[in-house]
């Protein structure tokens, strides 16, 4: 029954179209569509109009605050830069190939050099860097938070011990963590041939420190609220400690763990932008900061593009987590919480 309902919800947007095509009471179906699609679209249009008129009335030292049209232009500009850069890269490799071929044709034993193209970082690359960093931090956070949450959920004593620590560190802003993390990373991560950039590690660890708490707390609550009867079944079956964790406790807490992970990824994405700004990790945060420092007439428009990108990606990440949650949870109602 529950499955049917959730499947219906997935088809919610599709059903009226099908019915209109079938010719079932068209008027009602058009109304359904208007409510489901028309209202959000209208709201968005109103938002754009307000933005446009408000933007025109504010003039900063970098010129007028960009309205929707200017932002769209900047987005297009960023895309063209990316295309141009890609072309340059392709040409670079083509030239290199020809040059080396010529050399080898003259003298098969010649030493040829293969260089990597080092052009400007483009906007899509910065997005990828941000995503890579946030997932690294997020996965580290989950790897720490889930086992720790299970332990604190199982033991009231450990929970009492950990609770003050969790409560104190949970509200700390990434901006406060960053200097400490930077110093620690510079001191500890010393290598002549580093596999990762320091700025990347600093950002990822800051994300981890800020986003592990929701997963930790939710896992702990999920584990401690497990049905006593189920634990009694485990006792009657004489399950080993490990079997009890993997077969009873963990599956039972999965819906809560996923709720926590979804919150964590949201926090992580928000924190990442600030971390990248300060750590100079070449992602969206650095992009915003560089544009701000750059201070050209295009800067505000480009920053607005970044703001919208950050919002859209955050929305997408949440949606992906929700789908994962729905897929892995036995308790389908938890996904709606």
């Amino acid at each position: 029954m529950m499955n049917v309902v959730s499947k219906m919800e997935d088809l919610r947007m599709l059903a009226p179209w099908v019915r209109i095509i079938k010719g079932e009471n068209r008027r009602e179906q058009v109304n359904v569509l208007l409510r489901a699609l028309g209202v959000p679209l209208l709201a968005f249009a109103i938002f754009l109009a307000i933005w446009d008129s408000a933007a025109k009335s504010v003039v900063t030292s970098l010129g007028q605050v960009p309205g929707p049209t200017q932002v769209a232009e900047q987005a297009k500009g960023l895309w063209q830069e990316y295309q141009a850069e890609k072309e340059k890269e392709a040409k670079f490799y083509e030239r290199q190939e020809k040059r080396n071929e010529k050399k080898l044709a003259k003298n098969p034993d010649a030493q040829v050099k293969w260089r990597e193209y080092r052009g400007r970082t483009t906007y899509p690359q910065q997005i990828m860097t941000s995503l890579y960093t946030v997932f690294t931090g997020f996965i580290l956070a989950v790897l720490i938070a889930v086992p720790l949450g299970i332990l604190t959920g199982l033991s009231q004593t450990l929970n009492n011990a950990m609770n003050p620590i969790i409560q104190i560190f949970k509200p700390v802003s990434p901006l406060a963590w960053l200097p400490i993390v930077t110093m620690v990373v510079s001191a500890v991560y010393v290598s002549n041939d580093p596999m990762f950039e320091k700025s990347f590690i600093t950002s990822a660890i800051t994300v981890m420190l800020c986003c592990m708490w929701p997963t930790l707390i939710n896992t702990s609550v999920g584990v401690s609220s497990i049905n006593q009867d189920l634990l009694n079944v485990a006792k009657v079956l004489r399950l080993s400690w490990w079997a009890k964790i993997t077969k009873v406790v963990l599956p039972s807490a999965v819906p809560m763990i996923f709720t926590g992970m979804r919150l964590s990824l949201g926090v992580g994405w928000m924190v990442l932008i600030a971390a990248e700004m300060l750590a100079q990790n070449p992602g969206l945060g650095k992009f915003v900061w560089d544009e701000f420092q750059n201070g050209s007439s295009n800067s505000l428009g480009r920053i607005m593009v970044a703001v919208l990108t950050i919002g859209l990606i955050g929305f997408m990440l949440d949606w992906i987590m929700l789908q994962l949650q729905k897929y892995f949870s036995w308790d389908k109602s938890a996904a709606n919480r």
């Binding site: 009867d229 009694n232 079944v233």
Partner: protein, 269 residues
Amino acid sequence: MSAHLNIDHVSMEFDTPSGKFLALDNVNLKIKKGEFVSLIGHSGCGKSTVLNIIAGLYQATKGGIVLDGLEVNEPGPERAVVFQNHSLFPWLTAYENVELAVKQVFKGSKSKAEMKEWIEHNLELVHMSHALHKKPDEISGGMKQRVGIARALAMEPTVLLMDEPFGALDALTRSHLQDSLMEIQRDLKNTVVMITHDVDEAVLLSDRIVMMSNGPAASIGEILDVDLPRPRYRLELADDPMYNKYRAEVLRFLHERHAKPDVPSSKVA
């Protein structure tokens, strides 16, 4: 004669914030192999405590449980429990729920194919073959309880413990399940200890009914031997004078001789 299951002078004291609370006082009962015993009493009289002590989930403060000459200190599959609220793992199907128990109890002694057969056999016993691969969410309360019984039976218990197994079900479903249980009992001849607060259920199913006095310091009030021939059929029994006599005796015990207000009088005073 040494009993199969001996509940030997069991007392149980709980630590509460307001001091010690004596829940059970000197409960003494010997149960024969293959016997079906019901524990009946008002809610809060410590029936479940007795069952949990037999299961090994609680440790008696005084006295103990002896099963086939060995003392019971911890839970184990030879004393399988059917809980009131089915307690199936909601993320596993009916088959997988039974499988979890079977794998744990018979690992090393049964091959994979034998296990599969055994799981299916037990689900067959409770008439659940049509819903092997349904999750608890997708089946009714009665069906969940059937799977719970199948899981307990699949552990091949020496004693089957049932904690108000049909208490949460509607009357019709309950009578279906009672019939199924009698059918299974006829074939397997398990030793069963069942808690109930349903007089008809107790008389219909039991060889002996143990009536418990109200707590605190609950103990055994009376024991009634139910000497009705098996198989028993509820419709025929409805007009049976012996059945009605037993029924009346249990009712009299519950309502006249030991009717106390829900709140223990000591707290009121």
